[in-house]
Symmetry: C2
Subunit: 508 residues, 2 copies
């Protein structure tokens, strides 16, 4: 060990270009033009991560190139190897590089260089984008808008996606898959995945379900459409939704030709008394972690909801979208586990692994099961089989639980960073639902109580930061606010984003 350090120190002594030239660039750091003397005392890893980000964004470290070995770079900079490892780890968390084992650390994405240009005026300007009545395309438009920091909710830490484990599982699947399973399959999903999901739900959500009850879908959005269409065929005219509640979910239900009457949510969860008065026969709820407030449905309300369902034959569509992500509280049992006859339960891997996998599941109540299977068959004949079998392996091998444990640690750090930044920079913001999930809801009070949050979100976007205005997720007037996702962002990005929010508030 000491010896190799000595070697390295010797190799990197001075700035002897001719010596440097003997080595391929990717193995050394001369091309990075790093001058350790510029580094602030005590902030070595930060400084190095910033310099590396810049080298990636200005093309000195192009996509696909390999970072210098930590040992080599540490020796060349005469810093401890831990400093370099820490800096590389930040880039990994950004999603800019990934570790490739013996191939080293490889650049996989380029950070935006300068502050993003203000969103093009004209169409869509930031104000047009955050128009009062958003349409189906709004989330794509917002994704396409240029920005430095994306604090929109709903996405986990995508840099943590277990690429190696996925590939290992895919290899095993391809090695053992009987050729016949590459033909047309069961529209309910691959038997292996339905069994794995049943076991997963038993272990993680306390739900007892047989694989035959499981319907594999392309995600919660598809589950909603299949249920909405089944209900519409059964003569249902409406599915009540929470107020505030997810805009995306509401837009999706509306297209199935069901009305979406709002039911207010208070600190105990959805107001079951109002639900009863509405006289609707179906309601979409997020009992374990209400979106966007983060409220947990209280025991009293759960009992009231059961009485409502049993008395009226009412149907609860339970969107268990991020129940696995909890930090400071015990797990909340799924409604499905106590009310299987009345609850259509749905979940997905979008918040556990990645939305791009497009895999979710539904446990329909007996009366809806056949209709939803028929709707799935009609929609697409079933999900693609390979990702289903890969996911089944990750569930059965414990890999998915490992992923969840790792995500919890990373997400909790990021949650803490956002809460701290808000407390310091936007003390007037009231934080809601920090105990679980992937996002915070903040409401603005006092001097900011009269802010138009869609205009605020537009100003914040013009400063290069994406958020959701709380009023997007409302059908009724209410206090202004923002919904801020933290799970997918690094503490550095989060602090920068909240800083821009504070400046936008002052500059309004």
């Amino acid at each position: 060990m000491h010896r190799s350090n000595g070697d390295a120190a010797h190799r990197s002594k001075g700035a002897d270009r001719s010596k440097g030239a003997d080595r391929p660039h990717s193995s050394g750091s001369d091309f990075l033009q790093l001058d350790i003397a510029q580094a602030p005392p005590g902030g070595l890893a930060d400084w190095l991560a910033r310099r590396l980000r810049r080298a990636i964004s200005d093309g000195r470290l192009p996509l696909g190139s390999t970072l210098p070995a930590t040992r080599v770079l540490a020796a060349e900079l005469r810093v401890s190897r831990g400093v370099v490892t820490e800096a590389y780890q930040r880039l990994v968390e950004d999603g800019h590089v990934v570790g490739r084992g013996r191939r080293g650390t490889v650049v996989v994405s380029v950070p935006p260089t300068a502050p993003a240009p203000p969103a093009p005026l004209g169409d869509p300007s930031a104000d047009a984008l955050f128009a009062p009545s958003p349409t189906d395309e709004v989330f794509e438009t917002l994704r396409a808008a240029p920005a430095r920091v994306d604090l929109t909710p709903g996405v986990p830490d995508l840099a943590a996606f277990p690429r190696a484990a996925w590939l290992r599982a895919e290899r095993a699947v391809l090695a053992e898959l009987p050729a016949a399973e590459l033909g047309y399959g069961d529209p309910r999903g691959a038997p292996a995945l339905r069994a794995a999901i049943a076991r997963w739900l038993a272990r993680n959500r306390g739900i007892a379900a047989s694989p035959d009850e499981v319907l594999v879908v392309n995600g919660t959005a598809q589950a909603l459409v299949l249920a909405g269409e089944a209900l519409h065929r059964d003569g249902y005219g409406a599915m009540a939704v929470e107020e505030p509640g997810s805009l995306g979910v509401r837009l999706h239900i509306a297209r199935t030709r069901l009305a979406t009457p709002p039911v207010p949510v208070d600190e105990e969860g959805v107001r079951v008394d109002v639900l009863r008065e509405l006289g609707v026969r179906a309601a979409l709820l997020t009992p374990a972690h209400q979106f966007p407030t983060g409220v947990v449905l209280s025991g009293e309300r759960r009992r009231a909801l059961m009485r409502w369902a049993e008395a009226t034959g009412g149907l609860v569509f339970e969107d268990d979208y991020d129940a696995e992500h909890r930090y400071d509280r015990p797990p909340v049992p799924a409604l499905r586990s106590v009310l299987p006859e009345q609850v259509c339960y749905t979940g997905s891997v979008s918040k556990l692994l990645a939305p791009a996998l497009r895999v979710g599941w539904v446990l329909a109540p007996p009366r809806l099961h056949a209709a939803m299977v028929a709707a799935k068959r009609h929609a697409d004949l079933g999900n693609p089989v390979l990702p289903q079998l890969v996911l089944a392996r990750l569930m059965d091998s414990g890999e998915l639980e490992r992923q969840l444990r790792q995500l919890r640690l990373r997400h909790r750090r990021r949650r803490d960073a956002m809460v701290a930044a808000l407390r310091e920079l936007v003390p007037e913001a009231v934080v809601h639902g920090a105990a679980a999930g992937l996002h915070l809801m903040v409401t603005l009070e006092g001097p900011y109580g009269d802010v138009d949050d869609t205009r605020l979100a537009a100003r914040v976007l013009e400063r290069g930061v994406k958020t959701h205005p709380l009023s997007w997720h409302r059908q009724r007037p209410g206090p202004p606010g923002l919904v801020l996702g933290y799970a997918a962002r690094t503490p550095t990005d989060i602090a920068e984003g909240i800083g821009e929010l504070a400046r936008a508030l002052d500059g309004r």
Copy 2:
């Protein structure tokens, strides 16, 4: 070489169990109890393949086990290595084993042992299964029915799926995928795949389309539903279909609340004059290889169809389901290539790679594009991203063209085997559409002209062979017949299946 032969011959001499026991089973063949003396002269490879199938089905070669090295087995049996390689190749074509390079040849599926039991009487009995008016579940029920030989149409040779190439491409995708692409994506599909599809269609189908026109879908079934719903919203009441024409397609369209008036098909293709008289504004056609007749739309009819579309603003939904599979004729240009404004073009990889991948594409005419994108967003927010990017690589690397060339050779051999078996065993059967595709249509004439083909299919199924009665694919009365898929079956299975068909006809 000679030396190793000598060794092997020595090792396997006699039935010395104690010696045999020193070696792990998978490395030798003692456990196969092969006695070369039983082999018929000249039929060594056949004999060996049969013995190996039996060893797989009775568990001596369990799933996941490795066949003896060809060199070792050839030496032990004192046959040429070519005999063993040929026998192994037959098992590969069956889909029972796959080559794993240095890992050897591995068992991946178990052949049914004895003749399958007759389909359980009661529900679904073979007769119930082939009831006159089949429902949406009929294809799943038929798939689930036990049988020795499956001659149903619509599936390519699944044993030829390029597992190694798929895994290589997936590794490359996971190595380079920016983390952000694991989030919610473009509902039209991954840009890389839309570009690859545009290039594929230009190279293989003479279609000039920009990637922006391409909509990635879960397969032709989903394309139909998205189009059907878009048309229904536009006030269309019907989509004409070919007669005879695909039952599955008709059932799918019907669920989108569009009527499916039949337009007869003759030896020049669809009767455009009848289409004109019907006064419908939309028609689903299979111009390159009509299903099930295999007829190619003639030049005169193509011109008549263009005149109809231009005069009436009529919309043609072009289902190009197996246009790449042709054996004895030149390619047929897609209608889309000459009529982009009037044609909604769709294709998929179901017949090129595997239906279980659930990937297809749509080129909508300008007037339908936005509505179909909106319908896809609503249906599932878009296809899973990883299989899209893997497929894009296989298309761009030329791997998919290699696959297609290999499939053509294998399918053609199987087509020839089926035509020969029919000529020999069922001379009364008239064969249609043998020049291309994955199936044959046979009509029964002379003594069999009055057969009820659903009852015939039931009798054939009771003999362990699955087929489609032609009347499934008719809305109007017509000569009896069967639709017989050959692409997914080995010449041996095909001969066996046609033999049972002949016996069923005699025994009626």
